[in-house]
């Protein structure tokens, strides 16, 4: 009972914090659409070109927007000392960690999935591949939050951790990008693509199994100073 309480209590706290910083919350999403617009402008607005590149553009920007949101995952708690309290008091630590990652996914990955039809519209992605795009985002973005949390935990004590975080995390995102964008590309070509979706699922499940423990270890390491 108390084990579930730790998880629920942490989740409740995260949502209260998110509500208090509503304006920051939208920033990664605004970034996503701003960058999409820039792509369209840079490409001269040509529908054919944008449509061909739409899966890559959307997935790359989702990675980057996710990364932007990652910076704050542990930073605020580190600054006010709550992270120390969490690491010392939580038993087991991976439960509140998982709650924090879940909250991060809801306002980054899930929010982007919900807004993806809009992005698809801007880039002239054919309507019939939209379900595939949404499915890959839904299955793939949890892996981004989970893997990214490891990088965020490793860099939380560093003042200027932003670029370093990107350097650590983006190479680890490569498989998610390949399978995510690849599945949409295949859907556009009318090829069977369930294999990629299953692969995304596998990556997410592996990340879900391992990441909470590695994040816990990384947080303890970052606090040791």
């Amino acid at each position: 009972m108390s084990v579930a309480g730790v998880f629920v209590g942490q989740l409740r706290r995260e949502f209260k914090l998110l509500l208090q910083s509503r304006e920051e919350l939208a920033n990664p999403l605004i970034f996503l659409f701003l960058a999409l617009t820039l792509f369209a402008l840079g490409g001269g607005g040509s529908p054919e070109m944008l449509r061909d590149f739409a899966p890559a553009i959307i997935w790359v920007l989702v990675l980057l927007a996710n990364l932007l949101a990652l910076e704050g995952l542990f930073r605020r708690d580190y600054d006010d000392g709550s992270l120390e309290m969490l690491v010392l008091m939580a038993e087991p630590l991976f439960l509140p960690v998982l709650a924090k990652i879940l909250a991060h996914w809801i306002y980054s990955g899930l929010a982007m999935t919900v807004l993806a039809p809009l992005a698809a519209l801007i880039l002239f992605l054919p309507a019939e591949v939209l379900p595939t795009l949404l499915l890959t985002l839904l299955v793939g973005t949890p892996a981004l939050s989970l893997i990214g949390a490891i990088g965020a935990a490793l860099t939380v004590s560093l003042r200027r951790g932003g670029v370093l975080l990107a350097l650590l995390v983006l190479p680890l995102y490569v498989p998610v990008l390949i399978f995510g964008a690849g599945a949409v590309v295949e859907a556009m070509a009318g090829i069977e693509n369930m294999a990629q979706i299953y692969w995304l699922l596998v990556i997410t499940m592996v990340a879900l199994t391992i990441a909470p423990f590695l994040v816990s270890a990384a947080l303890k390491i970052s606090l040791e100073q």
Binding site: S2, V3, G5, V6, V8, G9, Q10, R12, R13, K16, L17, Q20, S21, R76, D77, D79, D80, G81, S82, E84, M85, L86, V87, L88, M89, A90, E91, P96, K220, L223, E224, Q225
Partner: protein
């Protein structure tokens, strides 16, 4: 019955940047002890407390400690939450279903329970951390400069809380620059030559 110590340090040694912070430190803290940890800046007071708390593991020797609560430099109070929410989160974390309101009233935050901490003063935020001392129900308290940012009444509050805790069989280790002036104080001095100065002053 044998007296069980709440904290036992045996042969504790720690180096930082090639310098001995403490070396071969043996110390026991029994129920009812109030230990004032003093020493110049950089003598390792915080490191010792963090080691005992479990935040720092790069030492040799052994530490045995009863369940404890550590209150560090940063009070672990989120400015974007109210005192009540901050305490409720803490209670969820330790798996307690105690009522946070009496504790908040005890530290002088009655009427401020639902206000965001960022609108409170630094001293009032510290008081939220003090409320957690009451709520935690841990026999051993580790306090790192607990008087920081507190006004006179706040400092008296810290003294009262410590005295009450010690009288009810708890123990407190407190790193501080200014002595709290409590009657039953043991002193642990870091820095200088450890083996000769680290001792008990009645």
């Amino acid at each position: 019955m044998m007296t069980t110590h709440l904290l036992t340090l045996s042969g504790l040694a720690c180096q930082r940047e090639g310098r001995d912070l403490f070396d071969d430190l043996d110390y026991q803290v029994a129920p009812g002890d109030y230990v004032e940890l003093t020493g110049p800046n950089g003598s390792g007071k915080s490191t010792l407390l963090r080691s005992i708390a479990g935040l720092f593991a790069d030492y040799s020797g052994a530490i045995e400690a009863a369940p404890l609560l550590y209150v560090g430099h940063r009070p672990a109070v989120s400015p974007l939450l109210s005192p009540l929410d901050n305490c409720q989160w803490f209670l969820d974390l330790v798996g307690s279903d105690a009522d946070p309101l009496p504790a908040l009233a005890r530290v002088g935050l009655a009427g401020f329970e639902e206000i965001l901490c960022q609108q409170l003063s630094a001293g009032q935020q510290r008081r939220v951390a003090l409320a957690r001392l009451i709520l935690a129900q841990r026999p051993l308290w580790l306090l790192d400069e607990p008087l920081t940012a507190l006004d006179d009444s706040g400092q008296r509050l810290v003294c009262q809380l410590i005295e009450q805790h010690v009288e009810t069989g708890g123990a407190v280790v407190c790193a501080t620059h200014q002595s709290l002036g409590l009657s039953a104080t043991r002193a642990l001095v870091l820095g200088e030559r450890q083996s000769s100065t680290a001792g008990v002053v009645a």
